[in-house]
Symmetry: C2
Subunit: 208 residues, 2 copies
């Protein structure tokens, strides 16, 4: 049972290795990787051993090789179907985010409760009315949903997704979602919390 | 020099204490807090001692008292001025996010390079053309900026903000920002990374 903070760190390592790959770096020292991620090389070594990577003396990593290993173990190389629920400002920004497709995430469906939105939005993604969430999520085998509805619609939208068999939800709304199915993983993105972290970190660096 | 992961955890503790306060909880056990945050009670105790909180036998915390302490030490109770650069879908969603004001973040300015956007956007926030960023950031003492411009405009917008004396940037764009002023804290919000974490965590919980 791997804890979420460990998974977050490993995903961050994967992302940083991707950036290094783009810069044509073939290897990276343990300490440079630690700097780029913001964690100690000790915790990096510990995290990587949890996913079976122990073949390193801890000084230097092969960028391509390590990235492939993480990608295989965590199944990043397979195509994943996601959907977006709520196609307002945040939802439509996500529909149009080019980075998704190149990272293996295919937006299989967009849902909204407003017929007007469904008819006027310019996108290649297939759009459906919100009441069709259970049917389409099940039919297309959609794993993950991005929730971008108004907070009062968050709980009911999450329940419809659960009904269709969704496995994970990325929640952009400020509402706290409670689902009976405890295996459905819900992550919350909160601008206020992000801003607090930035404020504190910049306070600290400007004081020292 | 407190590392970012520690600050992130403490901000998360603060947020969770706020939720508990709303639910009228007066105390919380160390293990329940650990569950809600996703970190061990040991690391919670370690983090809190870094900000001077050592007066606990580790079993139970006073919700209100602990939240106030964190709020004081990290200056969450003071009003902070932020600005939003780029008022498209993401930027205008943020302009309209009600939770900001109640958490002490005042949006002092919005910037965009499109005159049309500046004239047609419905908001109480004062809007300015992008070339006025250095002048307004300096004049109003704005600490933090949310960057929501297209990725090709990210670097130049960040430089204008730095020119005005910005202290922290929350970067929504996929561009990697490089600033000479190393004290300016830049945090990146990346939907792809968030989706990877959700995918992996839901895989794990559906396998076990
Ligand atoms: N996480 C953050 O930091 C952050 C920042 C800004 C906004 N938000 C939140 O993100 C959400 C979306 O914000 P926005 O500005 O894009 O809102 P918006 O009003 O522009 O869009 C909401 C969309 O959801 C649709 N909708 C309403 N009820 C629905 C339902 N039951 N099923 C499906 N679709 C439904 C609406 O028709 C609309 O298209 C809000 O909850 C907002 O509070 C979060
Ligand atoms: N972080 C994520 O996960 C995520 C998800 C979706 C989109 N995005 C990114 O967020 C950014 C905004 O996305 P969006 O959908 O809101 O884009 P958008 O095109 O709707 O809005 C961009 C806005 O920036 C303005 N702008 C352009 N150049 C500018 C400049 N030099 N100075 C000031 N303003 C300028 C435009 O006039 C427009 O109003 C993009 O970089 C996009 O790739 C990130």
């Amino acid at each position: 049972d791997v804890p979420k903070p460990t998974i977050e760190r490993i995903c961050k390592i994967y992302q940083v290795l991707g950036d290094l790959e783009k810069e044509k770096a073939e290897t990276v020292t343990s300490s440079r990787l630690a700097d780029l991620i913001g964690f100690s090389s000790h915790s990096i070594r510990k995290d990587l051993s949890l996913i079976g990577f122990t073949g390193n003396n801890g000084a230097r990593y092969q960028v391509k090789k390590l990235k492939e290993l993480i990608g295989n173990v965590l199944c990043f190389d397979r195509q994943r179907k996601i959907c977006v629920v709520g196609l307002g400002r945040i939802g439509s920004a996500i529909l149009n985010y080019p980075n998704l497709k190149e990272s293996g995430f295919e937006i299989a469906a967009g849902f909204d409760s407003s017929v007007n939105k469904l008819e006027t939005l310019k996108t290649d993604v297939k759009l459906f009315p919100a009441y069709q969430i259970p049917e389409i999520v099940k039919r297309d085998g959609i794993d993950t949903a991005v929730l971008a509805v108004p907070s009062e619609a968050a709980q009911s939208s999450a329940e419809r997704l659960a009904e269709g068999g969704i496995k994970g939800i990325l929640n952009f709304t400020p509402a706290n979602i409670r689902l009976n199915a405890k295996e459905i993983f819900v992550a919350n993105i909160d601008l206020v919390n992000e801003l607090r972290v930035v404020s504190v970190m910049s306070d600290l660096s400007f004081r020292s």
